[in-house]
Amino acid sequence: MGTGAAGGLLAYRLALAGLRVISLEQGDALPEDYFTHQNPPGNAKDFGLRPGTRFPINPHEFPFQHELYAGAAERSSSEESQSNFRQCQILRLNGLLNLWNGISLRLAPADFQSWPLGYADLESHYGQVERLIHVCGTRENLPELPDGEFIPPKDLRPADLLVRQAALKLNGFDLKAIPNRKAMETRAEKPNRCVSSGGCVAGCPVNSIYKFSTHLWPGIKDLDNYTLSLNSKALRFLGPDAAGRVQGVEVLDTQTREIRRVQAKAYVLAAGALETPRILLNSAGESCSSGLANRSGWVGRGLLDNPKVLLTTSLWKLWGSRACYDPGHGDHLLLLARAKLREGVTFRCMGQLVHQLPAVPLYLGYLHKFPQRLRPLLAKMLYRSYTTLAFFAPAAPEPGNRLVLSSHQDHYGVPQVDVRYQESEQELAMKEAMLALGRKLLRKSSGTLIFGEAAHPGLGIHYAGTCRMSASPGAGVVDENLRTFDHSNLFICDGSVIPALPEKHLTLTIMALAHRLGEHLSTAVQ
């Protein structure tokens, strides 16, 4: 269930191994010309405005107003929950990968401390996934960020060089600035090479960023043993039988509204860290009154998302610049740092520098305080110097941050989940510390006025922890092979199984877990 980061890759792996596979995807596929004609990135259509754009523009929230993000009546979580946790969800083939930024980082051995498996268990899978999705980057030999198998990155631009220079000079933060690592085609001879259309989070018009539908699905779509079933929304599981095996899954055809039953030897939930527990909680029955696979009580508990801050400025050293350079794909520079809390405690944070020629004038969000007559002049200065820095911190596990079944339903009549989420004092302090670090770095890079703010919880879009992996049945939902403790033929593979969220982006790790599960299932099921 699901065709996002894990579901797509797992289906590919299992289908090539000869298993009979059906992928259930609740949404439809986007039209082939969606990112080229219907809704291209940049200001190619309607000046970059979307029906959901709100004024005055908040530049940091603008990307999340994309029309592909599900609305209140469609998403997994209730509208009431959005005030404390803003869920971003895309109900289409590829899921969130449709607007994925592509950042692909390996976790370091130290990041696996509370996992029932270690870096060595995933290392070869990381490599195989990197070869499948083509990750660009450079080998840096950093213990906190293991190298992978890379294709060459794009060149750094003047803004990247300014910030990298400043990072070298800024003492006390263990700052490192390296070329970003993204699942993006950069090789000139490839037809889908990056064409520098700006930030990837508005969609890629040339399929340079990895997506299941463009990269892997073509290799399995004609196989007799593979079926992709679109508009098929998993409602709930049936069973379990006396042996604890799930008996089937009830699926709603979202176009005809017919409900059918799908039966299989094994089921894999890969619907995302909010939808997966929602399906399990909605599958409560006589033998499992608190939800399927929930004997431990951990389903829905421990929701995680990386605390995130954003800082925007104009780098004055770029004012008046008419230098001709490849404007690129937004974020060419990755920053690794160690920020300090007030008590002197330090924590690792991961940043990315976003710099692009702003065809969409998001900078206006900061110019309202200036008289109208000055704005054209300021816009001119800003145009080549507009720079945003994003930092992510590790998420602090809080069992109280959880999902519970809601009294609200989506427009198919399926109960949504309410999200109970509160940022801890530590997370708030980390956000403050990252803002302070970001200000120092941007000032050193010739930043002028700096507009910094903490992102709303949920806008990190690194959702994890709600069906955590653990070594013992009482402490989690799945074992190290992602099999649920309660049901031998039910597996979970998405962000929900990740028990602890370091500062690094988690998508590559989800894919590596899917690749590993593919290996496990192709032998176990056969």
Partner: protein, 135 residues
């Protein structure tokens, strides 16, 4: 038959401090006059007027139809226009609150028009260093 009347009882925020009031009347064949709340014609007239009063008029006038279509698809903009169009019939404290709402609506429209101005090809060419068109 449709007629449009402008008066100067409202203060627009940053739209050249020009006051606007639009009342739209439709006379039927018997001569009755009734205010109607919304139609695309009224909408275009109101938006056209706001564009005409914008400091970015010189560029925006070329995109008037496109702006109208985008505005109609955007719930926040169309609601703001609708409220401006509906006018102010309240009194006392309610009148003050309605005044604040109207100021905010006009501010929102102003931001919307300014965003489009800075996203037009004419202006982007200038910002990016191509001097063929003046900002």
């Amino acid at each position: 038959m449709t007629s449009v009347h402008f008066s100067e009882s409202w203060h627009c925020h940053r739209v050249d401090k020009i006051s606007i009031q639009i009342e739209m009347h439709r006379e039927n064949q018997t001569g009755d006059r009734r205010i109607f709340h919304w139609d695309s014609e009224a909408y275009q007239v109101l938006l056209g007027h706001l564009i005409a009063k914008s400091p970015y008029f010189r560029v925006l006038r070329k995109y008037e139809q496109q702006i109208g279509r985008i505005a109609m698809q955007n719930p926040q903009i169309s609601k703001a226009l609708s409220r401006i169009y509906d006018g102010n019939t309240s009194t006392g404290a309610k009148r003050k609150s309605a005044h604040d709402t109207r100021q905010h609506d006009l501010f929102v429209i102003d931001c919307f028009l300014e965003f489009i101005y800075f996203a037009t090809d004419d202006v982007i060419r200038e910002l990016s260093g191509d001097k063929t068109t003046a900002v």
